[in-house]
Symmetry: D2
Subunit: 330 residues, 4 copies
C-alpha cells in the first residue's frame, strides 16, 4: 500500500517535493497545505491533490506522512505537532536556526518514538552517491582530505537573507552535512573566513557572500569548503576526496553534453543553473528513501541529529569568522 503524503507549503521547495512524491512508486500525494489561495489552486491543479489546512492534515486519518516546506521559523513547532500526531515527518533543513530549539524538537521526536528525516538532498544525488560508494568500497583507502566547492549562480533576495540565519546556516549547511558524510568522522575544529565581494547590501545585512572553511576531525582528517553567492557559469557543485590510496571526485552537471569548437576554442555549455533541475534525481531519491524507511520501520538515512550537527558546525563557523579563531565543536 502507498504511503500517503501531505506537503506543508506549496512554495518552490514544496513543489519540488510534491513532484518527487508523484514520481516515486509507493508514494501518494493526498493533500497540500498552502495559505495563499492562488498558490494552493495552482498546486491542486498541477498535482491533482486536495487542499487542506495544516490543522486538518494533523487530524487526517488518510495521511501517513508530512513533508514540511513552510518558513524555517515554523519547522520546529510543526515537527513536534506532527510527531505527536503519529505522522512520519520529513522536514526541509534547517530544523531551526537556534541550536537549543533544535535539541528540544529532537527530544520531543524521540519521546514520541516518531520518525524524523531532515532534508539533505545532496546525499541522494546519483553522482555524489557514486563517490560515497567508491569510498565505502575502499577504492581510495582511508579518507584524508575533502574539498567541497559550492557556489550559487546568484544571491537570494535581501528579504530572504535577513531571515536566513546567514550564509553558514543557509548555504554552507549543506556542505557541512556533505563533509560529515564524506569524512566519516565528526569534525572537532572549525576555522572560517568570510568576505563581502559580490554585493555590498549583503554586508549591510550583516552577512557574507564569499566564505571558506577548514574542518578538522579528531584523527586529523580535514575538509575545506569554498562558497560564493555568485558563479556566472551556473550552479557549481563539486566534491573531491583524497584518500591514502587515491582520489575520487564528482563532476558538475551541464545543460547539455555537447562541445562547440571554433577559433575561440572548445566550449561546453554552462552548468545547470537551478537547484531544482540540478538535483531533480536527488529529490526523488530522497523521498524514495524516506518512503522505504517508513514502510520498513527502519531508521531514515538522515535524521534530526544530522540537522543538529550541521547547524552546530554553522554556528562554529559564524564565531570563527567573526573572531579569527579556530572553534571547537562536539
Amino acid at each position: 500500500m502507498s504511503l500517503r503524503f501531505a506537503v506543508l507549503g506549496a512554495g518552490r521547495i514544496g513543489q519540488v517535493h510534491a513532484r518527487a512524491i508523484a514520481s516515486v512508486p509507493g508514494a501518494e500525494l493526498v493533500a497540500i497545505a498552502e495559505p495563499f489561495a492562488a498558490a494552493a489552486e495552482a498546486a491542486r491543479k498541477a498535482f491533482g491533490c486536495e487542499i487542506r489546512t495544516i490543522d486538518a492534515i494533523l487530524g487526517s486519518a488518510d495521511i501517513d506522512a508530512v513533508v514540511i516546506c513552510t518558513p524555517t521559523d515554523t519547522h520546529a513547532d510543526l515537527i513536534e505537532k506532527f510527531a505527536r500526531a503519529g505522522k512520519a515527518v520529513f522536514c526541509e533543513k534547517p530544523v531551526d536556526l537556534s541550536v537549543p530549539r533544535v535539541r528540544q524538537a529532537l527530544a520531543t521526536v524521540e519521546a514520541e518514538g516518531a520518525t524524523l528525516m531532515v532534508g539533505f538532498n545532496r546525499r541522494f544525488d546519483p553522482d555524489f552517491m557514486a563517490v560515497k560508494a567508491a569510498i565505502d568500497a575502499g577504492k581510495i583507502g582511508d579518507v584524508e582530505m575533502v574539498t567541497i566547492t559550492s557556489r550559487d549562480p546568484g544571491a537570494p533576495p535581501a528579504a530572504y537573507i535577513k531571515v536566513s540565519g546567514g550564509i553558514f546556516r543557509d548555504m554552507t549547511i549543506h556542505d557541512f552535512d556533505m563533509a560529515r558524510w564524506l569524512l566519516g568522522e565528526e569534525p572537532v575544529s572549525v576555522m572560517a573566513q568570510g568576505s563581502v565581494l559580490t554585493d555590498p547590501e549583503i554586508g549591510e545585512l550583516g552577512d557574507y557572500d564569499s566564505v571558506n572553511v577548514i574542518l578538522r576531525t579528531a584523527s586529523g582528517k580535514q575538509c575545506i569548503i569554498t562558497n560564493s553567492r555568485r558563479a556566472t557559469y551556473g550552479y557549481d557543485q563539486r566534491i573531491e576526496v583524497l584518500g591514502s590510496k587515491g582520489m575520487v571526485a564528482a563532476q558538475n552537471t551541464r545543460e547539455a553534453k555537447i562541445e562547440l569548437a571554433n577559433g575561440d576554442g572548445f566550449t561546453q555549455p554552462p552548468l545547470l543553473n537551478f537547484f531544482m533541475t540540478r538535483y531533480t534525481a536527488a529529490y526523488a531519491n530522497e523521498i524514495a528513501a524516506f518512503v522505504a524507511a517508513v514502510k520498513d520501520g527502519a531508521p531514515t538515512p538522515t535524521t534530526g541529529l544530522d540537522g543538529l550537527k550541521a547547524l552546530e558546525l554553522a554556528e562554529a563557523a559564524v564565531h570563527s569568522a567573526a573572531e579569527g579563531i579556530a572553534v571547537s565543536v562536539g
Copy 2:
C-alpha cells in the same frame, strides 16, 4: 484532454513506450495488446492499464492513438489497419524490410489522411537536439562533414539477427536517419564496407558485425558512419559535425559523472550500457512530440517518409558492401 493510447506488443520496446506515455503529461495509457499471458499480466500490473486484443483496440472508441511495437513483419499491416480505423499511429522502425511494402503502406496512410510517426528516438535525445540546435542557429556555418560513431555493447542473439534484415537495416538505420537529419540534405551516394570480426556466427548468418559507411549529398557534404556490434566500454553513441565555421559534437553518457584517480591513472565509469537507460529522455521526448503533433493537427517531426529514406540508404549500403561500388540513391 489526454491523448488515449494503446501499445501493441509488451516486449522490451513496448515497455519503453508504455513508460514514456506514463511520464508524458497529456498522454494516457489505456490498453496494451500482448499475446503472451505472462507478459500481458506483468504489463497490466506495471502500468495499471487494460489488456485488449489488437482487434478490440481497432474497434475501441476510447483509444486515440497506437504505438506499434510488434515484430517487424507485422508493422506494415498494422499501420494500414489502424490508419483506416482513424487512429493516430506511432510505429517503431522499420516500417518493413522491403522498400516496396513500405511505399505501399505509406500510400495507404496518405490516402486515409492518417498520422504516422516512425520512431527514430535519437532525434529526441537532449544532447543530440542541442547539437542540431547549434547547427540551426548557425554556430558552425554550413554543414560539411558528419561523423557518427555508433557501437552496441554486444550483438543481439542469432535468432534476432536472422529476422533483422542485417546490420545496415537493423542498426545503421538509426545512423542513416541521424545523417539525413544532420546533413540537412539527402545523400545521393552510399559506399559501405562490412566485416565479421566479433563472432563468426554472425558471418554464417550472412550478416556483418563491423561496418563503415560514407554518404555523399549532391552538394558534396559527406557523412561517415562507423558501427560495431561490440564495445566493451558500453553503448557508444557519438555525433560530430564539422562546418565552415566550426564543429559541434555530442559526448557519450556515462553511468555516473565521477572520476577515480590512483597509480593506474584517472578512471571514469563506462557508458550507460543499454539503449533503454541511455535514451530514456529521448523516448519520453519522442512520445511528447507525437502527442503534441496529434493534438495540434500538425505534422509529426518524423514521418513514414523518414522511415523509407533510411531504409533506402540501408539497401544501398547492402549493395555497396557486397559489390564494392558506390551506390546511387534518391
Copy 3:
C-alpha cells in the same frame, strides 16, 4: 661520436629538421644546402652551421647523413645520389609522386645497401606512441576498427596544391601510414569519396578539400580516415582504435591546458594550429630514432617501403573517388 648531418633545403620543413638535429644528443648539424641566399644566410645564423652546395655535400667526408627537404620532384634523384655516395639518407615524404619512380629509387637504395628512412613524423608523436604501446601491450585485444580524424587549419596556397599530387598524396598519405601502423596489417581495399567544400579554386585545380576513406585488410580490419583542409578550431589530429577488448584514443593538443567559465559556458583554447608546434616532439624523436638506427647499424623504424605503401594507398584512393568503386591494393 656524433652523427654529422647536412640538411638539403632550408624551407619550413628543413628548418624543422635542423632544429630537431640541434636538440638531439649525438647529432650534429654541419651544413645546410639552400639555393636562396637570404634563406641560406638566415639558416646559417640560426643554426651556426656552414652553407654548402648539394654537390659539395655529396663529396664531404665530414657528412655522415643527409635530410632531404627539397621539392618533391627532386627527392628520388637525391636519394639515389646520396645512397651511392654512402651517406645515410632521411627523406621527407613522399619519395616521389609516381609509384614506378619510387620503386626504382628503392631498388637503387637496396642495391647500394644504403640506409633510407622516410619521414612519417606522426609515428613519433608521444601520444600516438602511447596509443601504439597500449595496442602492443594487448590492452585492447585484437585491433578491429581504426578512426583517424585529420584536419588542417587551412588549405595550402594554390601554387603548392598544383604540384602536391592532390590531397590523397599530400595530406591523407600521413593517415595512410598511420592506418598501416595501427592496423598492423596491410589494407587490401580502398574506398574513397571526395568533395570540394571549402574553396572552389581547389576544385578548379582538380583536387578535393574534403575526403573520407575506408580501408579494409584481408582479415576484415577496417580504418576510416576523415580529412578536411579547413578546421577553424586548429590542427585536428586524432586517432582512435577499437579492439576486441577495448578502445584507445589520443586526444588533441591545445594551446594551453586551461578552461575559462562564464555565462557562455566552459571554454578551452583552440588546438595548436601549426604542424611544426604540434609535432615538435615528434620531429625530434624521429631524428633521434634515425640517429640511433644509423649508429647501431639497425633498420630504421620507417623505410622507403613505408613511403611506397602509403603512396599506393593514395593512388588507390584517387581512383576510388574518381570512379566510385572499391580499389584493390597490394
Copy 4:
C-alpha cells in the same frame, strides 16, 4: 652576446637549471661548482662546462651571473657575496628560513644595486601563465576567490624534512607565491590547519604532511591552499580563480594525452610524477626571463621581496596551525 653563467651546486635542482641554461638562446653555461667529485665530473660531461670552486667563480671575469642551488643555509651568504662581486644572482627559494636573515640579505643586495631573482618556477609554467594572462585581460572580472591544490606524489626523506623548515616553508611556500601572484593583492590574514596522515615519522619530526590554508587580503579576496605529501596519482598541481565575471582554471599535466576504455571505464594516464618533468618548460622560461631582465637592465619578474613575502606567509601559517588563530601579516 650571451650571458655567461655559473651554477653553484650540481644536485637535482642544479642540474635542472644547467639544462635550462643550455636550452635558452642567449645564455651560456661556463662553469659549475660542486664539492662532490663524482657529481662534478658527471655535470662536466653532461653539460660540457668547466668545474670551478665557488671562490674561483667569485673572481671569474668570464662569469656574468650565478644560479645558487646549494643547500638552503648557504643561500643568504652566497647572495651577499655574489651581489658584492657584481654578478647577477638567481637563487632557488628560499633565501633563508629566517625572516630577519632574509631581510639582511635583501638589504645587502639593495645597497649593492645588485640583481636578485628568487626562483618561483610555477609563475613561468605555460598553463599558469595562460591563467594569469586571462585574469590580466579582464576575462573573469575582479579576482575574488583562488583555490590552489598542490600535492606531492610522496614525502621527501626524513633527513630532508629535518632541515626543510617544515611543510609551510618548504612546500606551501610555492603556493603562497602563487596566491600573491593570482590575488594581485597582499594577504593580510592567514588561517592554517595541519595534520599528520601519511606517515607518523613526519609527525615525530614536528612537521605536518597534510595542510589547508585560508588567506585573506584587505579587500576581502580569499585564497585556499590544500597540500598533501602523498598523491598516488602523481604530482597534482591545479589552480582555479573565481572572479566577478567568470572562472579560469589550469588543468594537470598527464604522462600522455590518451584514453583507454574497457569494461572498467575510461582511463587516462596518471599525472607527470616529478617536478622536473612537470615543470621543464617553466624552468626554461624562468631562466630566459632572468637572462632577458639582466640584459635589458630591467627588474626581474620575481625578486628577493617575493621570497620574503612568501616566507612571511609561511611563518604565519606555522603560528596559525599551532595556535588555532588567524594570524595577521604585512
